[in-house]
Symmetry: C2
Subunit: 187 residues, 2 copies
């Protein structure tokens, strides 16, 4: 076998599922073995160790999320409408079964102690999301207003990511978002 037999993307996909749902510490490599079907040796040969596999999963997740945000904001007629779409999506995501917030947010909260590298990575990626929002806002607002509103948006997104665990909270969150972000073109 000169080339690996498994599909690397599929393995990362399954790992994201597990790590996102359970977090770093509650996920065991045995569970990774079970979900991916690979043997322990293969996983370690291909990915190094648990932290490296987790990191690759986080990277993949962050890449896809950033691409998605870009796509929506580029497709929207105005920045404001794009932001409304994003927020509405985040709200609706919380209504799904097995909702588990945002992989980056969860990692930031779980691994903050001791300056963990995975924490640093998740934090850097979240900062990048804010920078992305700010850059789009600058198309319509001054630098000062854009920065303030980007931070406000981030806090609302984080808010929904935590609030969303509550059952039957979708309408409440919609109201709350309209209250806190009245400058957006809500429908």
């Amino acid at each position: 076998m000169a080339r690996a037999q498994f599909d690397r993307n599929e393995v990362i996909e399954k790992s994201i599922e597990l790590f996102w749902q359970k977090g770093f510490n509650a996920s065991s490599m045995e569970q990774v073995v079970k979900r991916t079907g690979l043997k322990p040796g293969s996983i370690y040969y291909s990915f190094g160790n648990k932290e490296a596999l987790f990191r690759e999963s986080l990277e993949s997740y962050a890449r896809k999320r950033a691409a998605h945000l870009h796509k929506i904001l580029d497709a929207a007629p105005t920045v404001g409408e794009g932001l409304c779409t994003i927020l509405e999506e985040v709200v609706e995501e919380s209504a799904k079964e097995n909702y588990c917030s945002c992989f980056l947010v969860k990692t930031r909260l779980e691994l903050a102690a001791e300056g963990n590298e995975l924490y640093k990575y998740a934090s850097a990626k979240l900062d990048e999301v804010e920078a992305l929002l700010e850059s789009y806002l600058k198309k319509e607002y001054s630098k000062k207003v854009s920065q303030r509103r980007a931070t406000s948006l981030m806090m609302h997104i984080f808010g929904v990511r935590v609030y969303g665990y509550r059952e039957g909270c979708v309408e409440r969150m919609r109201q709350g978002l309209r209250e806190g972000l009245p400058w957006l073109p809500w429908k």
Copy 2:
């Protein structure tokens, strides 16, 4: 020894410190042994098991937080001013070394999978905080407005709890809060 030799409150206090900082899964009972100075047998004899000790720690934390919120809101000249004080405190807390968000929020995010009892408890306590805020708001606003603003406040608090890990973010968050909560009497 008919009565325990250690101070139960002190042990819970040390446990809160550990569990709050590291979370449930990254905290080992050996670390509890080290921090409290008790022997394993004593801990299990007095508290049952890890989950029960964690729960007692969570309960103690939640009780103290709720009392603190009540105290501030009762002492403030107006509800709005009390809310500003609370938010400013949460922001300033994030600037401390070893900042670790909110024990309840961290527990909610870490243990949501599989309907864990500790997750349910943390969630219920967070819901109670919102109910508390809403009851104070009703003194000055209609039921509808109070509910909407209580949710908005909760989302902002959650937002700060997650955003606060970012370094040098205090001024940013202050700006963001004023942007999202313009109806509060900010100074």
